[in-house]
Symmetry: C3
Subunit: 309 residues, 3 copies
Amino acid sequence: MLKSKSIVSIDDVETEDFYEIFKRASIFKRAVKEGKILDLMKGKIMATFFFEPSTRTRLSFESAMNRLGGSVISVSEAKSSSAAKGETIADTIRMASSYSDIVVMRHPMEGAARLASEFSTVPVLNGGDGSGQHPTQTLLDLFTIWEKYGRIEDLEISMIGDLKYGRTVHSLIKALSRFNNTINLVSPEILRMPEHFLSSIKSKAKIRPDSSLENVLGTTDVFYVTRIQKERFVDLNDYQKVIGSYSFNQDLVERMKESSIIMHPLPRVDEIDPRIDSNKRAYYFIEAANGVFVRMALIDIILRGGEYE
Amino acid sequence: MLKSKSIVSIDDVETEDFYEIFKRASIFKRAVKEGKILDLMKGKIMATFFFEPSTRTRLSFESAMNRLGGSVISVSEAKSSSAAKGETIADTIRMASSYSDIVVMRHPMEGAARLASEFSTVPVLNGGDGSGQHPTQTLLDLFTIWEKYGRIEDLEISMIGDLKYGRTVHSLIKALSRFNNTINLVSPEILRMPEHFLSSIKSKAKIRPDSSLENVLGTTDVFYVTRIQKERFVDLNDYQKVIGSYSFNQDLVERMKESSIIMHPLPRVDEIDPRIDSNKRAYYFIEAANGVFVRMALIDIILRGGEYE
Amino acid sequence: MLKSKSIVSIDDVETEDFYEIFKRASIFKRAVKEGKILDLMKGKIMATFFFEPSTRTRLSFESAMNRLGGSVISVSEAKSSSAAKGETIADTIRMASSYSDIVVMRHPMEGAARLASEFSTVPVLNGGDGSGQHPTQTLLDLFTIWEKYGRIEDLEISMIGDLKYGRTVHSLIKALSRFNNTINLVSPEILRMPEHFLSSIKSKAKIRPDSSLENVLGTTDVFYVTRIQKERFVDLNDYQKVIGSYSFNQDLVERMKESSIIMHPLPRVDEIDPRIDSNKRAYYFIEAANGVFVRMALIDIILRGGEYE
């Protein structure tokens, strides 16, 4: 049960919690589409502390809290914060938690969210910490897959692009490995998923490292594409070459299974050609929109628990 | 009808819409003054995306949404946004619109709001784009005139100051030209309204370019003064000279018609002497305050439509 | 009576107001702890204008307004504001007050809040102006003492650290001097409370300047520790020496009275050893959390007045 708990890592979420979150996210999605007014969080306050910019994650959380009838207080830049005056994370989170009922934190330092959860008097949701965890992104990714296929197992998932630094794929592979899935890892040499990370996963899934996009194109159910950051490359020519071979365009898409879907945590830059946005396989905007509903579910389960009819 | 529509340019607003907006703004103005609690936007979310700072416009929109019982999520600086990671306007607005029911956008690039409205799944309100449009400013200007005179035609309006770069006067002259008005253009040589802009307006109004303030002082109903930006002048002496001859002071005001009003989109710097703030003709603070009521009307008409009693 | 009044200085708050604020803050504290939903400020808007960063003060005010069911609009950095375009404080506050029902302002310039209150059409709460006043900090400090001792007189209070620049101690000593208290001033030579400030206070209290921590340790009821800013010292060795002799550690705490409490306006840096956070005398986190309840009381008394049951 997640009631009153902090979510720092996807490991904090049990398998049965997944389905409870999915179910409630579905209900909330329908409610919002129908223009239903929800008052479940009336009188409650969420504090969003973003020590690193992330418009998408922050707004998605704030939208979720507002959709539930709650309020938000927010700090969105490190330099105007108490941290700039030399305050520790422990003291900052004590402040945040004394002003609110739930805290969402993003921090450039790995482990910051875990530390925060230890000193907070209210639940802390990790909105991303360094190259560490980003569990709510994983939950919305899983929900999007579940919504499409009705399950998060017995699927072939191909993770494509930056598997070395990409925080979202690390978290997602951990979750998908709990189940009977086939996971293909497709990336350029210099952006491969680290060995030590792979070996640390207790996996029920069949993981196929170093796959080629060509080989998995026709069998994959879920393509999970990540942003390849220019800054990772010393030589810009190398970047251009990599982008060239991993870019999703119309030619590629037509050779995929009819039922397959393409996901991306966004923002995208050159990895996906905007011309395939209207393709039925393009699920990245649906995925992004699902972030609000999954976060609504999570907030409601943590703060209110019980059932939602 | 404006129901579910985006407002990018003042041209998107039909003449009959003007009166619907004025009527509803009046009702909301009275309701707020009487401390009435409105719940018309309960459960609804406005996203304000300001890629260029504008305290006045942003807060006025946010106040309007709150006064109607709605919530707001907000990005107020470009550098902490996804745009900084290379995201296109199309993708950014898709995000914004999937988190909210209506989006207000300000952007430094002309045409950004039109582009945004094409990719958004919810109505977009242009909060100013480059030297392009700022339609809600025009609506609040018109409402202020309408409130005073009971009409927006058969009036003599003098536009004064920077008519070259001033976005607000471009939008306002377009609107006022639809009706039988006399419009005097008063500006220094280097800040005259561009010929090509003037000739593009299909005008029912009588426009008198290159008027002198002296000549129109005694006949004008509405003085619309704009901020003259120091940055436009290479030579600071030129700025001082211009400010000197266009500055509204007590001496000038006393020679105006009793019934005339002075407007200014604010912030003002040296164009209006603070000593005339208490003069009955000083309407710029009323004008600014009206921004909230006009935006309440616009939001309510677009999102709810129908009637408001 | 504080109804509809601005609070610029602690001198604006009469002695009988103190007790009204304390009483109401107590009631709100219990209500929030019990998860009660308050709707007292429904339909009302607070504008927070922070021209200088202060996460703690801003969020505490915003949390207070949200807890009462009200909304917040906010500007939290000077450079994106109209002030950057050369607007005067008078014009800025006119804008803020036409968009809201109450304005909270922090400004780097001493006297800014007083000026603002003169041009505002709604009550202004000073959230700190330069080295001037910070009255709501003083109110929450007093409330914390009152909560512990049931009174704010007949106490021995020791103020420790930076008594020269520390805005909070200046405001607090003014308030405590109205009553029969003993006030010890403990600071390094270069950070002593200015003579002219001390002589300006009409005091019923017994003030003992230049006290030594050693001498007051066993008799003090309230230790009020302030942050010593590195920037004040030319020589870093001097800073280290000062911090060394004023730092609150376990050894020191054990020699204090059982019933004594340690307060600090936060953020702290090196003045208080985190190992004493769990000591029963550590009241600084309680003090910070009290900020929300005291501000709720103040907002409710100013905007609604009357009684709260």
